[in-house]
Amino acid sequence: MRPALFFIILAASAAQTRTASTPSWRVEVDALKAKGDAAGALARLEHVEQNSKPSAALEDEIGFLLAVLNQRAGALERFRKAIAIDPKFASAHYHLGVALWLEGNREAALPALERAAHLGPKVFDYRYRYGAALMDLGRAADAVTECKIATSLQAGSAAAWNQLGLALQRQGDRKAAAAAYAKAVEIEPTNTDFRNNYGLMLLESGAPVKAIEQFEALLARDPGNLGALGNIGLTYLNQGNLTKAIEQFEKVLQLDPTSAIVQYNLGLAYKQKDDLANAKLHLRRATELDPRIAEAHFTLGVVHWQDGEFADVIREMRAAIDVNSNYAEAYYLLGTALKQSGRPAEAIAALTEAIRLNPKTPGPFTLLGQILRAKGDADGSRQAFAEAARIKKQKESEQKTMFDRAAMETVGPAAGMRMDRKP
């Protein structure tokens, strides 16, 4: 547990209003807290506890101080004790949820945060933290609901608007996400993360000029902001304006030649420009700087593939799979290159794995069918082709609602990598 962070998160709800009838121990404890003497405050409260009736509020506050002092087990025990005393004591549920969350026990934390939000529906922190937890667990629709409530409870919270933007973005509602990010930026214009999120959302929404405006606003305050510089390059790259993208990425690399993401994006820009030599150079550099970026290995492999260098493709696909063993596309291209290298048995194994990981792509079935046909396995070949045809038909049926030609599968990845991307 991280005491400082925990203290910040809990601080708002821990503060209480004092009156003339406030007992003296309360005054003393508050004074010790104000001085930052958590141990002293804890000792005083434990003394009070010995002479008091069981109190959920007291247990919760002791738990809080134990948490601040990094006594995790004790803190959790106190929060649970508080809930046992008063199951409707929202604060204890909230503290328990946050403590469990920070410990990494997210599945256990969520019900506690949910309970707190239920018991304290008008408390901003409860709704906001519950929304954030839902978001982290991939429940974007529920997160949107909670974040909307949080923003209604505290419209001036830029963090809540940003959180709402993230949830809406995850749901695919680009327009609403952009509006939420815009609000966060309006409230807190100096926050780099919020403005970067807003810019990237504008980029995804097909408003590249406005996106660049956001990144440039960031640069006006912080000319060396690598994230903003890189995202401007990313905007040009996604627009297909490759010359400007390359210029921008080169500029970033002059400031920080060790950025694997920028090397990757630069390599991708050169790839799209069909400058395969430079693409290889920068993609190779990206893999050297951060071997954990599976996409860099994959894209480097694609460039070798374009050049007909199948041994290099096989090496890079295997490197990508070493990083991400669930990388279906890498198994797929590995199988393709193995087939093209005249290694059908290995190709079949790779394609079979690609199909296992992603059975909804017709391509691996088609290749498998071709290999089996060449081997004389007519039945196996027919089955593979039939499955490919079935998936293709299903995909075409789904396409009835999707008119995007750019969504077609083509050679290699189409989009660059965000500067805030984590391997």
Partner: protein
């Protein structure tokens, strides 16, 4: 020295609008080119001076406005010189006056490097959403007829042999009309699929397109690189290809269902190529489909076809993924006696090269052959052509982006794009020689249809290109190479008169055997010269083996190089029957 001169010329081309590419090209003789060959755009001085109109110039609301149209090299007046037919389109929401109304154009070859517009005299004036064209003597009267596809009723122009044509499409039953929606007919080819000596007709179809219901860019449904663009074809219903059987009395019957053509799903068909891919003596039909698997209709010899592109390995890219196929061409690029296929695709993808292994099996050799290195171009017209007459078929691809909206964004290779010329190295691989092939190749244009033919009969292959909302190109091949050539004009007697489907083997004394077939249609919506052209390298003579669709096989020995040979079926003494 040459390099710096070329660099200087290119820099002029980029910056100085006062010079056109063809004007600048005058300063660069072919002998200075490392290839020994330069392609020069001579369209303007040749008299091809009418713009092709096709949809909006800056933005398009419908996919129909983007696909452009084809071009044909054919000798309509049988004078031995190739004439040029250019399909034209139209625009939505534009009222043209009588003088500016777009129409298809027929340009007669004046045999001096220039052409005369004879459209009106020939009776070929028509305005509409013209698409493709193909040539064939459907009534075996000795004069090649012209079929033009449309979004709407197609036209079958019967050649009256007096310099005029009559549209007999309706009487012949090939307009394709009569449904609820106008059909979007695209690529076409005359093909004698049942070998009865009468040319039948295959017409690809793209989309069941309803201008009233198709989503428009304003709705924001369809984005490309963040730009709102015309929607489709994904998400729209595919059209159904049509096969017409020639009844021999001037009429045709739609046999699509009976022949098994409809047994494929909607296929977004564009480029069509009819050829004998499995060497069984019967023509098969390949269709380049957009955004889905392409189709290969194998001829079953009984009036039916079996679609087997997936099994044959010509449906997808090398990795088994769908591609946006546009144009298609065939040739025996490696001299193994089988017809291979090249196909153009969308931007972000490579073109496809399918090597024919025999037995209805192809191997995608795009990457091994060196065609994987270009992905930024959006390809349309495609042709195998032996531009340097060395005996190895090279590849020319015509490009141009589909969305004019990207014109000002600097996206990829832009809206106007240069062509790509691959030289066949004779070892199964190709080298991109575009940068050395002259200004006609490098000039960026919104190219679509592309046809190959030797319009000046000088023994090298020239190129005609139809562009959208731009002037057409006529790329004259100027060569300083001394390679020899042989051109063979086949005339059927028992077989169809145009001799479509005739296969000719051409063997030089060094033992190298070339092969090609007379074919209708091909490339993207276009018709190339029906005369077969063989580059002979330094050989002074060659032997010919001619396999007619009727089954007759004839041979000629010691044929001298550098001539245009007219061969009439059954007129040779060494004839044998297969």
């Amino acid at each position: 020295m040459n390099g710096s001169r070329r660099g200087f010329v290119r820099s002029l081309c980029r910056s100085a609008l006062v010079f056109s590419f063809d004007q600048i090209a005058r300063v660069l003789p072919a002998k200075d080119s490392p290839l020994g060959v330069q392609f020069i755009n001579v369209a303007r001085e040749a008299g091809l001076n009418k713009k092709t109109i096709f949809g909006g110039e800056k933005r398009n609301r419908y996919l129909l406005e983007t696909t452009g149209c084809g071009v044909a090299f054919f000798d309509f007046d049988d004078d031995g010189w190739l004439d040029i037919f250019l399909v034209n389109g139209t625009r939505f929401e534009t009222a043209f006056d009588a003088a500016s109304t777009p129409t298809n154009r027929l340009f007669k070859n004046n045999r001096d490097g220039t052409f005369t517009d004879v459209t009106v005299k020939a009776g070929l004036v028509r305005t509409g959403w013209g698409q493709g064209c193909c040539i064939g003597d459907y009534n075996n009267d000795g004069h090649d007829d012209l079929f033009v596809t449309y979004w709407g009723d197609c036209a079958l122009y019967r050649n009256n042999s007096d310099g005029t044509f009559t549209d007999v499409g309706k009487r012949a039953g090939v307009t394709t009309g009569g449904g609820k929606l106008p059909r979007w007919n695209t690529g076409c080819a005359f093909v004698d699929y049942d070998r009865d000596g009468l040319l039948d007709l295959f017409v690809a179809n793209y989309i069941d397109f309803d201008v009233k219901t198709v989503p428009t860019p304003e709705g924001g449904t369809c984005l490309y690189k963040g730009l709102k663009v015309a929607c489709g074809p994904p998400g729209l219903d595919g059209g159904k290809n049509i096969l017409f059987h020639n009844n021999g009395d001037g009429t045709f019957t739609d046999v699509s269902a009976k022949a098994g053509i409809l047994k494929t799903s909607g296929t977004y068909g564009l480029g069509v190529l009819a050829a004998d891919f499995d060497d069984d003596g019967w023509p098969d039909i390949y269709v380049a489909n957009d955004s889905t698997s392409s189709a290969l209709y194998k001829n079953n010899h009984d009036g039916t076809f079996t679609e087997m592109a997936i099994e044959a390995g010509v449906a997808y890219g090398a990795d088994g993924k769908s591609q946006a196929g546009m144009g298609v061409s065939a040739a025996d690029y490696d001299g193994d006696g089988r017809l291979d296929i090249v196909k153009t695709n969308f931007a972000g993808d490579t073109s496809s090269l399918y090597h024919n292994l025999g037995n209805n099996t192809f191997d995608d050799t795009t990457f091994q052959a060196g065609l994987g290195r270009n992905t930024r171009f959006l390809g349309w017209g495609a042709a195998f052509l032996d531009f340097d007459n060395d005996g190895w078929p090279d590849i020319l691809l015509c490009n141009g982006h589909v969305y004019p909206e990207i014109g000002d964004t600097g996206t990829e290779a832009g809206y106007r794009q240069r062509k790509v010329l691959y030289r066949n190295l004779g070892n199964g691989a190709f080298r991109d020689v575009s940068l050395d092939a002259g200004p006609g190749i490098l000039e960026p244009v919104p190219g679509r249809g592309l046809a190959i033919g030797d319009f000046d009969n000088d023994g090298d292959l020239d190129v005609a290109v139809n562009c959208v909302n731009a002037y057409p190109q006529l790329l004259r091949c100027d060569t300083s190479l001394n390679n020899r050539w042989l051109k063979v004009k086949c005339v059927g007697t028992k077989s169809n008169r145009t001799a479509i489907g005739t296969r000719v083997y051409c063997t030089t004394p060094d033992g190298r055997r070339r092969m090609d077939e007379v074919r209708s249609g091909g490339s993207y919506f276009s018709q190339s010269d029906l005369r077969l052209h063989f580059g002979l390298g330094q050989s002074e003579k060659a032997s010919l083996e001619i396999r007619w669709p009727s089954g007759l096989v004839e041979k000629m020995e010691g044929v001298a190089a550098n001539q245009i040979l007219r061969v009439v079926e059954g007129s040779l003494s060494t004839a044998t029957l297969r």
